[in-house]
């Protein structure tokens, strides 16, 4: 269904075999193809626009005009720019000077937060930490049980003082979890929260209250890699409503191009820290910008 960007650009730029400056018309034609490729990969329109301008700027420069194959050179620029955006300021998790480190998970309904809590907990324990999972989604039917099952599978303690399904105060649970963690000598607290929409002011306020009660060292925004143009609006809402310190891209084991990652990076300015790549607890990896850049371009 999707032609790769290489195919497309080769089509219009192979004519320009010899060295020489690309004309503005050449660059515009290339820019149109790049735009289509990005849109088909679900990069959001406003982000596509900014990106294309940056690529055009570079395409007018010496590195292209002196290249043997200007088409390949343009692709290289696009690829590099993508990696730059996706990987800028790559960093590790921030840990608290005074344990416990608090990691709060937030995102839309069904994005992959609860599953990630289990994965992240397992991964951190393998690195010698003592994580505690906190069941602060008291809304979604059986979210508490789900986290308990995951905790059991990963052999992690789950703090779940409330049954959920509408019963209990998630802010209180999150607050109490910190005391519990100190008592149990847990050095990391991972707070699972209910899925919420950016447009739901009440639920966004609840997320902010959980944040205020726990002062997270990391607030990770978990987003489904299949998301389309709405990524910008949603990321803005979580950025402004909860404050995001990092991003996790979930369901990357699918065949979506994952252009939403570019949108989220652009909007939040925060790094993508992890990739969630399956339903099992070890389907989890640190994020690799180069892999996603290639994937967005269909390379």
């Amino acid at each position: 269904m999707f032609a790769t960007l290489s195919d497309r650009l080769t089509g219009i730029l192979t004519k320009l075999r010899s060295k020489g400056r690309l004309t503005d018309a050449d660059i515009d034609a290339a820019a149109r193809e790049i735009r289509l490729a990005l849109l088909e990969a679900d990069v959001a329109l406003p982000v596509v626009r900014v990106f294309i301008n940056a690529v055009k700027e570079r395409a007018r420069g010496a590195e292209v005009s002196q290249a043997l194959n200007p088409g390949q050179q343009v692709i290289k620029i696009v690829h590099e720019e993508l990696i730059g955006i996706l990987g800028g300021e790559a960093r590790r998790l921030q840990f608290a000077k005074q344990p416990p480190t608090v990691i709060m998970l937030a995102g839309l309904q069904g994005s992959g937060k609860t599953t990630l809590a289990g994965k992240l907990g397992r991964w951190l324990r393998e690195q010698g930490h003592q994580p505690l999972l906190v069941a602060a989604d008291l809304q979604r039917p059986n979210a508490v049980n789900q986290l308990q099952v995951l905790g059991e599978r990963a052999n992690l303690e789950v703090y779940a003082p409330q049954p959920g399904n509408g019963v209990g105060d998630p802010v209180q649970v999150a607050r109490d979890a910190l005391d519990h963690a100190r008592r149990q000598a847990r050095d990391i607290v991972i707070v699972d929260t209910a899925g919420r929409l950016g447009v739901d002011a009440e639920m966004m306020a609840q997320a902010a209250a959980i944040r205020d009660a726990t002062s997270p060292d990391e607030t990770l925004f978990v987003i489904d890699a299949m998301v389309g143009q709405d990524a910008v609006t949603t990321a803005e809402a979580f950025r402004d409503g909860v404050g995001i310190t990092g991003v996790v891209l979930a369901k990357l084991d699918g065949d979506a191009r994952g252009g939403a990652a570019l949108s989220v990076r652009h909007v939040t300015g925060q790094p993508i820290l992890f990739a969630s790549t399956g339903e099992k607890l070890d389907d989890f990896d640190v994020f690799h910008p180069d892999r996603l850049a290639g994937r967005i371009l269909g390379m």
Binding site: Q109, G110, G112, T114, Q139, Q146, V199, M226, T234, E279
Partner: protein
């Protein structure tokens, strides 16, 4: 679309409205070409007229004449069987609960079959919904064969003489061949006993272009008869269903508008298009 002359800016605005709603490049290009042709022939001058025409075209692509009722009722002395399928987290289990709610409210009896034996607490979640809406649930052990749980559910529904059996399945990404085969088996095993009257593909409205691939591959596996577009209560427009309808002819039948039992509505093409174009519904 507020200008009163059809300059290139007006066209660009049309294009960006569509692309920004996840309608996709192919469908957008198609629609814009048709509109350009129509405005040329008709001599359309105002952006208002263009907007009205765009709305008409979009509604037309969604085939408003199609029958969007659910085949959920008893036929030939057997319960209607709904099979809920889709990628992970799209809203299948919730939709099973909501659909049961509508049927129960109409005085029908419903069995919910928990054929997601894989995800943590998936059967508990469906059981909670069953309790909420007054339906019976049939479930198997964690890790049990989903096809046999589905079979047990339709058998129970037939024995109890219920109106409808709704089968919830585990979320799966369409590029997982083994899981897609498993889903095909679930359907085949049910069909050893009775007909699946409706196979609903649940698509999250925030989904981008990947929904086209979802619709294609799920249809190949289990012959999808309708789409449920969930999470339309968020900021996403769900424009990808235009491509799904256009390429595969699968109509949207229901929309999900929240997490509560009553947050389900029939799909209304006109209302959907109005919301997509940013106007009042």
């Amino acid at each position: 679309l507020s200008r009163d002359r059809l300059d290139e800016d007006a066209w660009e605005e049309v294009e960006e409205t569509l692309l920004g709603a996840d309608v996709g490049v192919a469908a957008t290009t198609d629609l814009v070409a048709r509109l350009r042709e129509r405005t040329r022939v008709l001599g359309t001058r105002s952006a208002d007229e263009l907007r009205a025409m765009l709305s008409e075209e979009l509604v037309a692509v969604l085939a408003p004449e199609l029958d969007r009722t659910l085949a959920a009722h008893r036929v030939d002395g057997a319960p209607g069987v709904l099979l809920m399928v889709g990628v992970n987290g799209s809203g299948k289990t919730t939709t099973c609960g909501k659909v049961a709610r509508v049927l129960v409210a109409d005085g029908h009896s419903v069995v919910l079959g928990a054929a997601d034996t894989f995800r943590a607490a998936a059967a508990d979640q469906l059981a909670t919904w069953a309790g909420r809406v007054g339906a019976e649930v049939v479930r198997g052990a964690e890790g049990a064969d989903p096809a046999s749980v589905a079979f047990d559910a339709v058998r129970r529904g037939a024995e109890a003489g219920v109106e409808t059996v709704v089968i919830d399945t585990a979320g799966r990404l369409q590029n997982k061949v083994g899981l897609m085969d498993e889903l095909g088996k679930v359907k085949r095993v049910i069909e050893k006993r009775t007909r699946v009257t409706e196979t609903l593909l649940v698509i999250d409205a925030t989904t981008g272009q990947n929904a086209l691939t979802q619709a294609k591959v799920f249809t190949e596996a289990v012959d999808v008869t309708g789409v449920v577009l969930t999470k339309l209560d968020g900021s996403a427009k769900g424009g990808i269903v235009i491509g799904v309808q256009r390429q595969l002819g699968i109509p949207v039948k229901l929309v999900g508008l929240g997490e509560g039992p009553d947050d389900l509505a029939p799909f209304d093409p006109k209302q959907f298009v109005a919301a997509l174009l940013g106007g009042a519904p």
